[in-house]
Symmetry: C2
Subunit: 417 residues, 2 copies
């Protein structure tokens, strides 16, 4: 069987499994998830052994220590993986939820109800815990899932996937409901994302280049976010202490994540009051500043920003700073350069807050809070498959509900048109 | 300016207009719609003149009389167009609707709220009323819209679009919120559907080949349905009179539409009781029958069906007929060959009804009613942009809500993580 046929077969098997998944009750699915958690626990040694193989290969291939750290599976991390699965089992099941029900004048009863998407493909890089996190969210929502992990974590991913499959099977998970693509050929991804009559959605998780490659090739719909270029705008009426605390948190608490701030905008009326304090903060936190002309004139440590800076996701302790004329200019800057992920205003002016919330075209818009809160857990969704900066289907954190669709169930007594 | 630049400019202008659209109140938008209706009324003569041009060209180019009929704008049809606009003005506005609101333990107030998608491109064929229908649904939901109609209705579409633009402008519609692509170059469509940073969604409306061409080229998300291969399954316990009435309605009331039946499945236990009556109905309604071996052995007028028949949308008085072993075989047939649009069971068995509703993977699933009801109006949605057989974002009839997305508005008092 060549690669094309192999991937088609995986698609066929997933489709068949997805038809069986719709028959599982919530109770049954939760039992499957708990059996998966048990299997991970029982196969700890196998998983750690596989992980050692990946780490050895990684060292030999010169992976950075940061990469190796992300790859490593300690007992604590395996424990978190197990806890993560059990937590998903405890979450409410969106499948079967009634969105609305109405009876039409002709007597037809129409119910709009949540149902699984069908087959979900996840393409991811680096951290092996994604194998488990992503798979269980799909199973919980009665979807069949096809996993394709990155080459650095290949052995770890495979060991985790096998444990999940074995644990699931022991509790009644339909055959092929969880499949892991075992070839590392990059062509496999291309084949997978073209299976439009078998795969309902593909979710790429990883760096921008991975995501772009998936979008380029996909005929299947993609749920994604390319990057997070998030802003904090310090308005003229901002409480300066709050603005500084929010800026520090949004930039420094975890600079490598998508909801961290990349650009700070400040109203010209408060630039000379705010920026020196920001300069001290940057010096203390070792944040490199890149600013517009006005910002640089106030902050001697600030390098001049280039046009490219305004749309760069640094993922690092670097911050671009721009002085803007007013709220309108701030909104225009954000709508032009933002990745439409998370953007915040710090203000004491209720009208400005309202205008910012209304006119900034991003998944999450904040007043007087750090952009770092854009997260399924923080939003009270219980779990997160990732974050979407698309506008269709899912926008912002994707929880369980975003892994479902709906259908209309129409019951009559012989009605015709 | 070359075509590439022209289309990009149209995209830029739409994006700018979409930023202004979010500021319009419901009242303002409804006033704009009514002004558009007035303008169509005032420009009736111009519109009819343009339509005569299209009809003359159509005749010269040998369009079929059915095509010419669909193209023709009578006073009654223009009246319907005007009424359609005023009806949309009366519908509730989904923009600004709260989906949920919660306050988190840390005090953050999170609101999930409906907002416009932004820029919607509509690519359509044939009937000129789509120009008005599609435009007003987009405007009602605060979206900017780019229209690209088919060449047969070019002059009619242009005249309608100009009337809508002039009427809208007189009531405060932002400049370029409604744009009509005036070039007939097919390359324009390709350019348009690649504008992923300007256009949020493209909705193709027309034949399968138009839709496939859009999907092939699109980098922008597409909401679509290729075709409607709809089924009626007559179960062993079906009321035969109801089954016959539903079959007649689903096949004959309007055979050229997507929710008409293309294949009838019948349980083997009632095939010899039901099919002769179906044969009489087919003879009376001049429906050509194409059947499986078992169906042909009961129905002498039945031609043998080929494998291709099971997935063909005839859009005509042709029906494929298959005798199936049981409910399970019916569900498997439907999930294999259906276009996942609308499928029905006729049964008196509540368990079978439930199983059919649960396991048939289509946008609308029916018990004891005709598939012809899959329609925004019939479902009580008030208006319809089209029907989606996709599972992401919109499934089934697309009304106003499906032309919106949502965002999270987060209000705090200085919260950091």
């Amino acid at each position: 069987m060549n690669l094309h046929e192999t991937i088609r077969l995986i698609g066929d098997q997933a489709l068949t499994a997805s038809r069986k998944m719709v028959r599982l009750s919530t109770k049954k699915k939760n039992a499957i998830l708990n059996a998966m958690a048990d299997a991970i626990d029982q196969q700890r040694d196998l998983i750690k052994e596989a992980n050692s193989q990946d780490l050895a290969l990684g060292r030999a291939n010169g992976l950075s220590s940061a990469m190796l750290d992300r790859l490593a599976l300690t007992d604590a991390r395996i424990g978190n993986m197990i806890k993560g699965i059990r937590d998903v089992a405890l979450l409410p099941d969106p499948v079967g939820k009634k969105i609305w029900k109405r009876t039409r004048p002709n007597g037809l009863a129409i119910e709009k109800k949540r149902v699984p998407l069908g087959v979900i493909a996840i393409i991811y890089e680096s951290r092996p815990n994604v194998t488990s996190d992503a798979a269980v969210l799909c199973i919980k929502t009665s979807n069949a899932v096809i996993l394709r992990g990155g080459k650095e974590a290949f052995h770890s991913n495979l060991a985790i996937a096998r444990a999940l499959q074995e644990g699931g099977a022991s509790a009644g998970l339909p055959n092929h409901a969880l499949q892991f693509i075992e070839t590392l050929d990059r062509e496999a991804v291309r084949e997978l994302v073209q299976l439009e009559d078998r795969v309902d959605v593909v979710i790429p998780r990883g760096g921008e280049s991975l995501i772009r490659a998936v979008v380029e090739n996909a005929r299947v719909p993609v749920l994604k976010h390319y990057k997070g270029v998030c802003h904090v705008f310090v308005d003229a009426s901002a409480d300066m202490d709050k603005a500084l605390a929010i800026a520090e948190n949004a930039k420094c608490q975890r600079p490598g994540v998508c909801n961290a701030m990349e650009t700070l905008l400040v109203h010209q009326d408060v630039a000379s009051a705010f920026l020196p304090a920001l300069g001290l903060l940057a010096a203390r936190q070792k944040v490199e500043l890149r600013g517009c002309k006005a910002a640089c004139s106030i902050l001697p440590a600030c390098k001049p920003a280039t046009e490219a800076d305004w749309s760069t996701e640094y993922l690092d302790l670097i911050l671009s700073v721009r002085v803007v004329k007013d709220l309108k200019a701030a909104i225009t800057h954000i709508n032009t350069y933002s990745s439409h992920h998370s953007d915040a205003i710090v203000t004491s002016d209720a009208r400005n807050a309202k205008k910012f919330l209304k006119e900034v075209d991003s998944a999450a818009v904040y007043v007087n809070a750090s952009t770092r809160f854009t997260d399924g857990g923080e939003f009270g969704m219980g779990a997160e498959m990732g974050i979407s900066t698309d506008k269709l289907h899912a926008r912002g954190p994707m929880g369980l509900e975003e892994l479902t669709t709906y259908k209309y169930l129409v019951s009559g007594t012989g009605q015709v048109r």
